[in-house]
């Protein structure tokens, strides 16, 4: 909530210009743009917000429409191409004193006609313009009568879309979908690669937060954004096209990256494109690059040859891969600091968390170290220590991967134990369903309390207690509580705890100047953005919203799970990409900072761009397309790691792409 001079945001008009008791408006914006410069005004698809009474609304609106027409309008529909040009000229005429009042009627008329636009870019841009004409008419008339002249002002703008904003890597989703619709898969992939260097991965295993912010959902069902990304990626591979990227001429300053996971690979990719020599240090041997994607996501979800193809492409751009080198063991961080102009830490979060139950620390045979360790060993073909009856504890994707891999590794019974209900599982629904189809047993609302072993120290079972929801606590949330007397034993020979991972940061020497949080993540610098109540703005993980990704140690940057906390591939890629930009600025200008584009990006994400309550007028004809899938238990037979999901056919992809509403919109701030 903010106090404003004027706001029409959310189609809710708050006008405090005439004095009286100030009314509050609803939106989530920081009071400053960058921690220092105050926001004077903000305008976009959902209205106009004026913080500072001195804001020249007609001039700002004229500038906004000019930018929409000259910079963003794609020109691909009549009302957009021509209409915004007529609007731009009309507004320019007004603020340059050549206008007449009739132009205000033309603006209103065109705003109505632009409802017929092909997409929302130009159409949504008329909304704040019309609000301005309606509520600031006197200011326009002052220009028309020649009583007012424009003063210099600073504006910043950004093109966004709900999906693009929600994607942690900020992929230009409407553009990659539109190019698919136009049968241009290669161009689509180029758009994707501008923000996502592992398209085959994020076309398959991304939790796709973008789809939760898809405006098509407000009409019928969200676009299958992730699988469309796979379609573009598969097309290049299947049609045997060479990736088109051409790195810029080689530069002299060198960068070391710790970890060949999504954050490290992304950072290396974008720095390599800029011409920087990058060396990635990866603890695992050659053939096992990819970080958590490789060791944490089984091949039936992410075929290895395709992951390797994405990695090979990055290597072919001049990135040196040093496999089997563990930083802190085979080479020290200090050495890297000395040998390179900059170091990016992206070691991931590979240390399994303990369960905290009786018997877990006894060294029983059959009690495995952790889910992620199990998956890694299975993938690398090492003995996992798994037996014939496996119990996996946890509710995330790693737990699901463990029960499914256990089947493929030849266990006879694979059981998942989770303390809450099925629908509360953090794992993706389709992964849980997949496990179900493969014959995994589930024990929901069950808490393990003790690992049971026989005299020889072999696991024979796990004692559990059933859980029920207790009374609502102070926050109103009902926590699961043990039901007295409900204890029972699940017989098994293997227990795999899979309740989460932490970063393993022991390679960072104390005293080097890098701080570690209490959640065992690396501390990086951030922009102190506060809301009107003075509260710090945070991201979804509780980190400061707008982070620069440089540590307190000169030249050392950090990203990915080790900086964010264990999250998703796509979040790590977004983090690695931002790190690459910041590192480039550091190498070229000697200082690490977020530029205006980065700042608006964070501010919009906090706003956010998607509004689940928006009424989207559109005919709800399109059912979401579903990719083909291998069904039946055989798909989880011994050593069958063949891919389960098969992607769209191209014609299916094109039909699905045709459902996209291309929800572009332009935001502009005055500072």
């Amino acid at each position: 909530m903010s106090q404003v001079v004027f706001s029409s945001w959310g189609r809710n008009v708050v006008d405090n210009r005439s004095g009286g008791e100030p009314k509050e408006a609803q939106f989530r914006l920081p009071v400053t743009f960058d921690g220092e410069r105050p926001l004077k005004a903000f305008m976009g698809w959902d209205g106009l917000i004026v913080f500072n009474r001195d804001t020249d609304v007609p001039a700002m609106v004229a500038e906004y429409m000019k930018r929409v027409q000259l910079l963003y309008c794609c020109g691909k529909c009549t009302p957009g191409k021509k209409g915004t040009r007529v609007l731009m000229d009309a507004l320019q005429d007004i603020v340059s004193g050549r206008g007449s009042e009739a132009l205000l009627s033309t603006i209103e008329d065109l705003t109505d006609l632009l409802r017929n636009c092909k997409c929302t870019l130009c159409q949504s841009a008329t909304i704040p313009v019309l609000d301005a004409v309606k509520h600031f008419r006197d200011d326009f008339l002052a220009y028309i009568s020649g009583a007012r002249k424009p003063q210099p002002a600073a504006y910043l703008d950004k093109l966004t879309a709900p999906c693009m904003d929600k994607c942690p890597a900020h992929i230009d989703i409407p553009a990659y979908i539109e190019t698919i619709k136009e049968y241009r898969f290669n161009e689509s992939l180029s758009v994707i690669r501008e923000s996502m260097p592992l398209p085959s991965v994020c076309g398959r295993v991304c939790p796709h937060p973008c789809e939760t912010a898809c405006r098509r959902k407000n009409v019928d069902e969200p676009i299958s954004i992730m699988v469309l990304k796979r379609s573009s990626s598969d097309n290049e591979w299947q049609r045997k096209h060479e990736p088109p990227m051409q790195p810029k001429p080689r530069k002299s300053k060198k960068v070391a990256v710790v970890g060949a996971g999504p954050a490290g690979l992304a950072c290396a990719y974008y720095l390599a494109l800029e011409g920087y020599p990058v060396t990635i240090y990866e603890a695992l041997p050659e053939g096992f690059g990819g970080g958590m994607i490789a060791v944490g996501i089984p091949p039936y979800r992410m075929p290895r040859h395709l992951l390797q193809r994405d990695i090979d492409i990055i290597a072919s751009m001049g990135v040196e891969m040093k496999y089997g080198v563990r930083v802190g063991q085979d080479i020290t961080l200090e050495d890297l600091k000395k040998q390179y102009d900059s170091v990016f830490l992206a070691p991931g979060a590979h240390r399994s968390k303990p369960m905290g139950v009786e018997g877990e620390d006894k060294g029983y045979q059959g009690y495995l170290k952790g889910g992620i360790d199990f998956l890694r060993e299975a993938y690398m073909g090492k003995p996992t220590g798994m037996g014939k009856k496996v119990v996996v504890v946890g509710g995330g994707n790693t737990a699901i991967d463990c029960v499914r891999v256990a089947l493929r590794e030849g266990t006879e019974e694979s059981t998942l134990v989770y303390r809450r209900s099925r629908k509360e599982m953090p794992a993706d629904v389709w992964e849980v369903d997949g496990a179900d189809e493969e014959g995994v047993k589930f024990e929901f609302q069950v808490l393990p309390t003790k690992v049971i072993a026989d005299d020889s120290g072999k696991v024979t079972g796990v004692e559990c207690v059933r859980m029920a929801l207790g009374e609502p606590d102070a926050s109103g949330r009902r926590r699961p509580e043990p039901v007295a007397g409900s204890e029972f034993v699940i017989e098994c020979d293997t227990v795999i705890p899979a309740i989460g991972q932490d970063p393993e940061l022991s390679f960072i020497p104390q005293g080097i100047g890098i701080d570690i949080t209490k959640w065992n993540t690396v501390v990086t610098k951030y922009i102190p953005l506060k809301d009107v109540a003075g509260k710090d703005l945070k991201d979804g993980m509780g980190n400061p919203l707008s982070r620069v990704l440089i540590t307190d140690c000169e030249g050392v940057f950090a990203g990915g799970d080790a900086e964010i906390g264990p999250l998703t591939v796509v979040a790590c890629i977004g983090s690695g990409h931002r790190a690459a930009r910041v590192i480039q600025r550091y190498l070229e200008e000697g200082k690490a900072y977020l530029n205006e584009e980065d700042l608006i990006e964070d501010i919009l994400t906090n706003l956010p761009v998607y509004d689940k309550d928006e009424q989207v007028p559109w005919l709800d004809t399109g059912k979401r397309a579903h990719q083909a899938e291998v069904h039946g238990r055989e798909r989880a037979s011994l050593k069958n790691y063949c891919e389960v999901e098969l992607g769209f056919t191209e014609s299916q992809a094109i039909r699905e792409a045709e459902r996209c509403l291309r929800c572009y919109r332009v935001a502009m701030v005055a500072i």
């Binding site: 040009r85 000229d89 006609l113 017929n116 092909k118 049609r239």
Partner: protein, 853 residues
């Protein structure tokens, strides 16, 4: 099916249909401007806005799928106003040069403004003039006239696959241009011109030739490649001034450079217009009498087999029929053959013997819907662009899996899922490798084989001796790629196998064709609704010519000598009993002096045939050379008598496409000067040689063809004034077929091998007389791989000399990424370069020596 209501009418359509399509089924026409049926919907103009009850904004009918139970309104005051205002917006700064605009009178924007009542202008914006592209070849672009409907871009990308133009810039400055602003460099098919609703993209050669409504429009058939695209000639004052094709044609209005622009050959100043005898111009009576007397004299002195003839795939069916009849009846010899001898005819004979197939097994539109396609040894882009468009459509719109087997990278490579870049000469082995991989994987069509083929074991046995690793070694194709391609084409619901000159004129062609026949049987690609087996010939009537008995060993309808009695009765003459000489035997006969008279119609052996230095020497020995042609060809220059002949737009008759569609030509203009239709010339000469005959015209000849061939029959089906094809018996799959074991070996070439073949910008040698084609591709060149050029120190454009045992040529080098090491390519269209002279026989590949020129 989905039920809905449009303007109160109940409509039932298939799910997925658009509101526009649904409305059309009940006769409701919703106005459109950017909509083009053959490409994906664009939704740019927005004039097809309709109201759907319950939806709080207008929806565009062209790209909104129907929904059960919706109530659509297509006409209302509000919609009329929206549409009018949208047009007013379109007219903001649209130039008012309609009086001199080439599209004037056939402009969709004019029609829409008139139709939707956009008669005033409420909006205005600052005028920014955008430069007109006068620097493009064959096309001109005036972006000021553009309404950004994107039809051109979509046709270019989705149908042609040239990707030459795109939408560039932002806002009002958005135009259609080349991606880098450089002059247009594309296939110059002009399909974008046809799609353009305004005068933005226009044809340079047509510009200011006249107002569109002043031309006589004649529906006809394209006379370049063998796909037989349906076209319209626009003619005035005896000249064809442009060629178009309507969107409702078999080819959906799509043409290639030859079809759209090749017409300038018809108007070439070099056209032969007066008969000559020994180089002196004369009248027809004297020329025909001279020819008849010379022929009669030679026949009398040396017997009928002292005469021979070379016919042409450019001639109509009726003309070819009459030509062979003339040779067989009026002269009395079976010595007639054609350039089909180099590949198409022997390949056809082989497949006829092995599978009972004469030509393609299915119409070419069944390629569109094939589940998989193998394009083997064929640069479809050059050999039959219209078929290439279908492959592109299948592979991009209908999810077909595409495997391209070619020694060079070709345009289709960019669409392929499987790629087999083999060494020249290893074609047959590669096909055997594919069959082996299919059998190994167990993905052969067992049901088909069980029903139609008797000896799978024999095939397996014949392949037992070869391993995929050997095949990989000899062909240069990695084993995994062979296996991958085998899996892509086999085990599918349908497969199209398309093969061309590199297969039919391979150094191992007989083995290659036999192996392809086996592949067709193993994969069961015959006799199905979709797919099939498709041999491709570069020239329009190769199939029809062979159907007409233009061959030394078969009568019309592929009747062998034992059917001669029927023909003898019909023709009232005794036919020569012994088979005649084929093309190379004719050349030998001339060399040996046994053949003394040669009659060539519509062919130029001295430029268009392989090993033509040998042929030229042979021609020196002829007592009498009679050439009937439209141009002063190399052969015509040597002729004793020259008959000037007509070209396609000056003719009546029929052509037969590679897929057996027999289509009537429309005569658009009269032949220039004294030139006459070939049938007419044959008829007159026939009359002089066998005075009893009376030939009245193509219709009479076609009747005779139908009566005798047992192949052609029925009446033409005519739709909207266009012949959709006369009847021809198609391929009938029979049981009891056999695999023919092929012990394929790989032919070994030297360090350098030259491939000679067609390129996109020309067709045969006719387009070499077309100023339009020559604007784009004026001269021959010799393409060489970058590696080889580097080793030999040859720079782009520098002279390069290539020599074979048959001859040598010097031409500008073109360094090519498409070629593998050791392979050179030269186009065969150019008389100046005469690359054909280097070929030693029918094969299109020859071992050569390469040096700086």
């Amino acid at each position: 099916m989905v039920k809905l209501t449009i303007d109160g009418k109940n409509v039932t359509v298939a799910a997925g249909a658009t509101i526009l399509e649904a409305a059309a089924t009940v006769g409701i026409k919703i106005p459109t401007l950017c909509w083009l049926q053959k490409v994906s919907p664009t939704g740019a103009c927005r004039v097809c806005a309709v109201e759907v009850e319950g939806v709080d904004r207008p929806m565009t009918a062209c790209n909104t799928p129907v929904k059960e139970g919706i109530n659509v309104t297509t006409q209302s005051e509000k919609l009329t106003e929206i549409r009018r205002k949208l047009l007013e917006l379109l007219l903001v700064n649209h130039p008012l040069d309609c009086p001199v605009c080439d599209a004037g009178g056939e402009c969709d924007l004019q029609d829409s403004c008139f139709g939707l009542g956009a008669s005033r202008q409420e909006y205005s914006a600052l005028l920014e003039k955008r430069p007109i592209r006068y620097d493009w070849k064959l096309l001109e672009s005036d972006p000021n006239r553009c309404i950004l409907c994107e039809k051109c871009v979509k046709v270019d990308h989705e149908i042609v696959g040239a990707d030459a133009i795109e939408v560039v810039n932002r806002g009002e400055a958005t135009i259609i241009d080349t991606h880098d602003g450089a002059p247009l460099n594309c296939e110059f098919c002009g399909n974008c011109i046809a799609a353009c609703p305004t005068g933005t993209l226009i044809s340079k050669p047509f510009k200011f030739r006249g107002r569109p409504w002043t031309f006589n429009i004649t529906k006809s058939v394209c006379a370049f490649c063998s796909a037989g695209c349906q076209i319209e000639y626009h003619a005035r004052d005896g000249r064809v001034e442009r060629v178009t094709s309507e969107d409702d044609t078999y080819n959906s209005g799509n043409l290639c450079i030859n079809g759209r622009f090749g017409y300038s050959a018809f108007n070439a100043p070099e056209r032969l217009i007066i008969p000559t005898v020994n180089g002196a111009e004369t009248d027809w009576e004297s020329a025909v009498s001279t020819a008849a007397n010379r022929l009669k004299g030679i026949v009398t002195a040396h017997g009928p087999d002292a005469a021979a003839a070379i016919a042409s795939p450019r001639l109509t069916n009726e003309e070819n029929f009459l030509f062979q009849k003339l040779m067989r009846v009026a002269i009395g010899t079976n010595n007639i053959d054609s350039e089909a001898r180099f590949g198409y005819a022997p390949a056809q004979a082989l497949l006829a013997k092995n599978i009972g197939l004469y030509g393609a097994s299915n119409p070419i539109d069944r390629i569109d819907t094939a589940a998989a396609i193998l394009v083997f040894g064929c640069d479809l882009n050059a050999e039959s662009t219209a078929v290439e468009y279908r492959v592109i459509k299948a592979a991009t719109k209908n999810d077909a899996k595409l495997v391209v087997a070619n020694m060079r990278d070709v345009k289709l490579t960019k669409y392929n899922h499987g790629r087999l870049k083999y060494r020249p000469g290893s074609e047959a082995l590669l096909v055997n490798g594919l069959i082996r991989a299919i059998l190994d994987a167990g993905v052969e069509d067992r049901e088909f084989i069980a029903k139609y083929v008797s000896n799978l074991d024999a095939l397996k046995e014949s392949l037992a001796g070869i391993s995929l690793s050997q095949v990989a070694e000899a062909t240069g194709v990695p084993e995994k790629d062979i296996i991958e391609s085998a899996r892509l084409i086999a085990g599918k619901s349908s497969l199209a196998i398309i093969f061309g000159a590199d297969a039919m004129r391979s150094t191992v062609s007989a083995d290659c064709i036999a192996a392809l026949g086996n592949l067709a049987l193993v994969t069961g690609c015959l006799g199905k609704e979709a797919g099939g087996l498709f041999p491709i010939d570069e020239k329009n009537n190769a199939q029809g010519m062979l159907d007409m008995g233009v061959a030394p060993d078969s009568l019309p309808g592929y009747h062998a000598g034992n059917a001669a009695a029927v023909f003898e009765t019909a023709w009232g003459a005794k036919l020569p009993a012994a088979p005649g000489k084929d093309l190379w035997q004719i050349v030998e006969g001339i060399e040996q002096g046994s053949i003394k008279a040669l009659y060539i119609a519509g062919s130029d052996p001295l430029a268009a045939f392989p090993n033509n230095r040998r042929i030229r020497k042979a021609f020196d020995k002829l007592e009498f050379l009679l050439v009937q042609d439209s141009f002063p060809t190399e052969s015509a220059k040597m002729a004793n008598v020259v008959f000037p002949a007509s070209l396609a737009p000056e003719k009546s008759g029929t052509f037969t496409t590679l897929d057996h569609r027999v289509q009537c030509l429309g005569k658009a203009v009269n032949a220039p000067g004294l030139a006459r239709e070939d049938w007419d010339i044959f008829a007159e000469l026939y009359g002089k040689l066998a005075p009893a005959s009376v030939i009245t015209g193509p219709e009479q000849i076609l009747t005779e063809i139908k009566a005798l061939s047992n192949l052609y029959g029925g009446e033409c089906s005519v739709v909207k004034g266009r012949c959709q094809g006369a009847g021809k018996r198609g391929f009938a799959l029979k049981e009891g077929l056999s695999f023919v074991p092929v012990s394929a070996k790989s032919a070994d070439g030297g360090d350098y091998q030259l491939l000679v073949g067609p390129i996109l910008y020309h067709n045969g040698t006719i387009s070499g007389w077309s100023a339009n084609n020559l604007t784009v591709a004026p001269e021959g060149y010799i393409a060489i791989a970058a590696d080889d050029a580097g080793r030999l120190g040859i720079a782009e454009g520098a002279a390069i000399r290539v020599t074979s045992s048959a001859g040598s040529m010097t031409g500008p080098a073109r360094i090519s990424k498409a070629l593998q090491k050791g392979l050179l390519f030269a186009p065969h269209h150019f008389r100046g370069l005469n690359s054909n002279a280097l070929l030693e026989g029918s094969a299109n590949l020859v071992t050569v020596k390469v040096e700086k020129g």
